[in-house]
Amino acid sequence: MALSPAPAVVARRRWGRGLSALLGFVATVFLTFLGLLAITFFIGRVIPIDPVLAVVGDRATKAVYEAARAQMGLDQPLYMQFFNYVVGVLSGNLGQSVSTGRAVAEDISRFFPATLEMATIGIIIGVVIGVPLGVIAASRQGSIIDQIIRVVGLLGYSMPAFWLGLVGLAVFYARLRWVGGPGRLDIFYDGLVDPVTGLTLIDSLLAGEIDIFWNAINHLILPASVLGFFSLAYIARMTRSFMLDQLSQEFVTTARVKGLPERVVIWRHAFNPIRVPLITVIGLSYAGLLEGSVMIETVFSWPGIGNYLTTALLNADMNAVLGSTLVIGAVFIFINKVSDVLYRVLDPRAR
């Protein structure tokens, strides 16, 4: 028998490795954020937009301009500005947005939940419809159903979102009146429930306002469906592709040899192994949706992070840009790590 080190030694080594892995993890996350901030910060300086203009407008006198510039700290050397910003962030202060005149943290706490809500419903639609479609397409590869699913999927992938959004509004809202219009709520419901989570669906339930809840769903369903269609297209095609790989594997044949029903062969044997890569795909497209889509948000007058970020960037409102980037980056990294963990849970080979 192979000699193995005494259990205690192994345990200590494991523990030591666990600790250094944790430290390494924290260090990489920290460095990633720092890099993210540094690059964003640098971008803010190279774009030919004067950040002071967002504060003082284009008619300000020279004195007003200079005063604002100094107040924004722009007269300091670049590295000092960055240093100050990072120190601020570490102490929980994301600074002040100049284009809204509010604290960036406050802005984000308003805009991000709006995007979160839309993206979450969107990705749910994408997954709930996209995955089965992909599986069906793969299990009938080459059939007419497969071709239809592929074409429909590709359509979702290649149609400009704002076009889809506007046409959707024109048909389902203006013509058919099936769904609520732009915005998160009808105007009369607006402001009736206090934002606790910022998610209208949850807040309205917390306040016990069922009407508002339904109204929120009514408004959410169309933009979320447009997003959902978009991610559905991607998820379905990736699912199909992964499934095709699995279906040609030997162990699927083994499952058939055992006389298992086709449903079991497909869902238990072919689908289970692709959960991991699928989760990565879904995670990344979810993160992509959470980045906010300026176009959808604009068309649906949705007060989301994508629009906030874009407006901020176009005004060189760097605190707002950095703050949003940080949040979006955190979401990406969080989703990445969650899919890593799920990976380990779902794939015995990775344990």
């Binding site: 203009l53 284009d58 008619r59 007003v64 203006a174 219009g181 915005g183 007058s301 007060p303």
Partner: protein, 504 residues
């Protein structure tokens, strides 16, 4: 459908940076200030061309002593506090002390943080306003009718002051005025909600609330309007308006004070010959544009002070005439082709205008390369004077011809250090001394009629020879539900009034 006592408006409000009248300098914030605050005097909803009493019931000007004495009316702020002379003094001095963007408007009166206590004083319960400089009291009244001269409730504001900010932060999200409405809620890029001030001195408005929804996309505004979910859509394009159903929606056009121009940066050698300037005036398809994509949005106007205001010069001597332009260039020995970049804000109708200009100028050998950019980007470049040609617009800071004369016909120091927010300086055009002198003289002229004539003279001169080609005067076409009556929209966003609105 919208409730009978609420007016719901779809509008792009993402320009709002600040709502404090001492800081607000955007279109939308101007509009909100107008409906929330009163000034001593102003152009009122009933007739936006006549200077009417505001919080001051009467005033006595003493041009020799350079003072104006205002008698205040017995009014209350929405908070219930009375409007006192102290509030006027406080309001004016906080603008000067905070020294934010619009402060320069009041600062023209010779006010500085140091002398403020002497310039605006209280005597016998009246407010005495002093000013310094070569201008008439007519000019001063126009300045005092402008937005930064709004009167705020000192007691309320100072309750919310933080440090030295004189309540600036608080006022950016709340209101403290005596106007017809109170700002109840403002969420950036989402909504502004105004509620009626029941104690407004001219009488409470019919609409109990005004809800301005942020809707950036014009097509979405159109859908909201035709679906009856908003009463007014503010940012529709002429083409959209043309397609609106006449049975439910009506359309109103309001001439605006802003002028649209094409300018050539004089730092660029090729663009300095006056022949180029002159030829350019014959290369704009004025009628083609105003009769197609600019229809209802702009009309041809070729002088800097807008039509319909005292002192305007309404002649439009230039039309598209490529042959003539070619001739002018040839006569002056200007070598073509000239290749020029044209900076333009990347939204409609500016890009369309740029493309039209590009097409007609090319015929005479002036080739534009269009550089679309965001507003901030274009302005950044403009301030730095690094553009070549620029397609932009200008709205007066306050309704006095001097506001534009200074911008289009005055530049006493063209040096790089002397940054000035005027069109002349930004295009590096060293205005001839005599024109400068004429602008100064007109400002000082106390006789209103003569003064207006002097401005016409200045405009004629600038029209004949200047690297700034003024092409159009803006108009605002607003679509609203048929049952909306009484909406008033003056020549700038400072003159948008909701208090007379009713809905049948």
């Amino acid at each position: 459908a919208t409730p009978a006592d609420a007016l719901v408006i779809a509008q792009n409000i993402d320009d709002i940076v600040a709502l404090d009248p001492a800081q607000a300098y955007e279109f939308t914030s101007g509009e909100i200030n107008t409906n929330v605050y009163d000034r001593l005097v102003g152009y009122e909803a009933e007739d936006t061309t006549v200077l009417a009493p505001g919080l001051a019931t009467e005033w006595v000007a003493d041009d020799a002593a350079k003072t104006i004495t205002f008698t205040l009316r017995d009014a209350k702020f929405a908070s219930g506090n009375p409007v006192r002379p102290e509030d006027v003094v406080f309001s004016f001095s906080r603008v000067i002390k905070l020294n934010l963007t619009p402060a320069f408007i009041l600062a023209q009166l010779g006010w500085t943080p140091e002398n403020m206590d002497d310039m605006v004083t209280i005597a016998d319960g009246k407010v005495v306003v002093k000013y310094e400089g070569d201008f008439s009291s007519a000019f001063v009244l126009n300045v005092l009718a402008s937005r930064p001269a709004s009167i705020v409730d000192e007691v309320l504001v100072m309750e919310h002051a933080e440090g030295e900010d004189l309540g600036n932060a608080w006022l950016n999200t709340h209101s403290a005025g005596s106007g017809p409405f109170v700002m109840e809620d403002y969420r950036p890029a989402e909504i502004v909600r105004l509620t009626a001030n029941e104690s407004y001195f001219r009488g409470a408005p019919a609409m109990k609330s005004i809800i301005i929804r942020h809707v950036a996309e014009a097509a979405t505004q159109q859908l909201l309007l035709t679906s009856g979910d908003v009463d007014i859509a503010k940012n529709l394009t002429p083409d959209q308006i043309a397609g609106l159903p006449a049975d439910t929606v009506k359309v109103e056009t309001y001439p605006q004070a802003a002028v649209h121009f094409l300018s050539f940066n004089q730092k660029d050698e090729e663009l300095t010959p006056p022949a180029v300037w002159e030829a350019a005036r014959y290369l704009v398809d004025y009628d083609g544009m105003t009769q197609s994509f600019l229809k209802g949005q702009m009309e041809v106007h070729q002088a800097f002070w807008p039509k319909g205001f005292p002192g305007s010069y309404d002649e439009t001597p230039y039309t598209l005439d490529v042959e003539k332009a070619k001739q002018i260039l040839a006569d002056a020995g200007v070598k073509t082709p000239i290749n020029v970049t044209l900076d333009v804000i990347n939204s409609t109708p500016f890009t369309d205008m740029a493309q039209s200009l590009q097409a007609t100028f090319a015929e005479a050998g002036i080739n534009f390369e269009i550089l679309p950019g965001t507003g901030a980007q274009v302005i950044t470049k403009y301030r730095e004077r690094t553009h070549q040609a620029m397609l932009l617009y200008w709205g007066p800071d306050f309704m006095d011809p001097h506001s534009n004369a200074k911008a289009f016909a005055y530049n006493s120091d063209n040096s790089d250090e002397n940054y000035t927010a005027t069109t002349t300086w930004r295009n590096a055009w060293a205005v001839p001394e005599e024109l400068n002198a004429k602008v100064t003289a007109a400002l000082a002229e106390p006789d209103q009629a003569k003064r207006n004539e002097m401005y016409v003279e200045i405009q004629k001169e600038a029209q004949a020879s200047s690297p700034i080609v003024i092409m159009f005067q803006a108009a605002l076409t607003i679509a609203m539900a048929n049952n909306v009556e009484g909406y008033v929209n003056g020549a700038t966003s400072d003159f948008v009034y909701y208090r007379l609105v009713t809905k049948q």
